[in-house]
């Protein structure tokens, strides 16, 4: 921030500021509402919500069954409902099948469980390449899948939002739900990574 302190504002920044000033002056936007929304998506809503869902599904087979049958209702049980998560689908990855999510038409993403999408998820290269060469793209994320494993790419072009229920890693049998949730990354719920146990093979550094 301090390094950029003296640089002039970019065209987009100037345009946004001008637009915001006008909307506030005309009484169309309450600046406190804008601040509340930014604070929510910067600090309160994010992939820790999804990690809670995943860890609970790993611990509780009945919850997992509900989650896979009706993602929207099961996620609502934990309170993670709302805009861009109105209709949720949860896809389970298994030792035989790896799942990965994309929205080729735009950047649809399950906000209440995963927060706002990372820039690469919205980028044209990811969106165009993960459908035509999923194994190559996953390899670039550091995930090399054996030939015998099936890859399923889910393109969320309609109104439903998807997240992956990743495979529970081996060696986590004695862990609590909280400890498990700490292992679950955003990328594993998009499907460009697997969940690894720190110190074990496959762990991300």
């Amino acid at each position: 921030m301090s390094a950029n302190h003296n640089r002039p504002l970019s065209d987009v920044e100037i345009r946004v500021k001008a637009l915001e000033s006008l909307l506030v002056e005309k009484g169309l936007v309450d600046p406190a509402a804008v601040d509340a929304l930014i604070d929510t998506y910067e600090h309160k809503v994010g992939p820790r919500n999804g990690a809670h869902v995943v860890a609970k599904a790993w611990m509780d087979p009945a919850y997992k069954a509900r989650l896979l049958a009706d993602g929207t209702a099961a996620i609502a049980e934990l309170g993670y409902s709302g805009i861009q998560g109105e209709d949720m689908v949860v896809i389970e990855s298994t030792p035989e099948t790896h799942n990965v999510i994309v929205c080729t038409l735009c950047s649809c993403y399950p906000w209440p469980t995963l927060g706002l999408p990372p820039v690469w998820f919205k980028s044209a290269p990811y969106r165009s390449r993960v459908v035509s060469d999923p194994r190559g793209v996953l390899k670039e994320f550091g995930l090399e899948l054996p030939e015998k494993m099936q890859v399923r790419v889910w393109d969320s072009t309609a109104e439903l939002r998807y997240m992956v229920l990743p495979e529970r890693p081996a060696g986590t049998e004695g862990m609590t739900e909280e400890q498990l949730a700490a292992l679950v990354t955003r990328d594993s719920m998009i499907g460009v990574a697997r969940v690894a146990v720190p110190g074990q093979e496959g762990a991300r550094t």
Binding site: G27, D30, A36, E86, V131, S132, V153
Partner: protein
């Protein structure tokens, strides 16, 4: 006139679903072979180009949703079923596709015909 912080946060909690509670019968059932239409209108369409005029199988029925193509044009909601359609990677990409790999795409019923 402007909504306040409390109202803005309440709106994020509720959202706005495009699911419609309408008694519309599905034209297809899971397991049915379908073919996507080859549609190339000048305006808005939610059928990705890479799955136009391709063979697939109905994987699941998501229920009834507003059809954005008509809704965006002010021509009504035209509620209809949205399906997950499963395509083999080979069907879409030829020999470059992984032999066992699949693509699963949400598709509105109006984009489909029997396979």
């Amino acid at each position: 006139m402007a909504i306040n912080a409390e109202q803005a946060l309440a709106a994020t909690k509720v959202g706005a679903t495009a699911r419609v509670d309408a008694a519309v019968l599905p034209r297809f059932t899971p397991g049915t072979r379908v073919r996507t239409l080859n549609l190339n209108p000048p305006g808005h369409i939610r059928l990705p180009r890479y799955i136009r005029d391709k063979e697939g199988v109905i994987e699941r029925d998501h229920g009834v949703f507003v059809f954005p193509d008509t809704h965006a044009a002010g021509l009504g909601e035209k509620p209809q079923h949205v399906y997950v359609v499963r395509f083999s990677a080979r069907e879409l990409w030829g020999p470059q596709g992984g032999a066992k790999d699949e693509l699963l795409v949400d598709v509105w019923e109006d984009y489909l015909e029997p396979g």
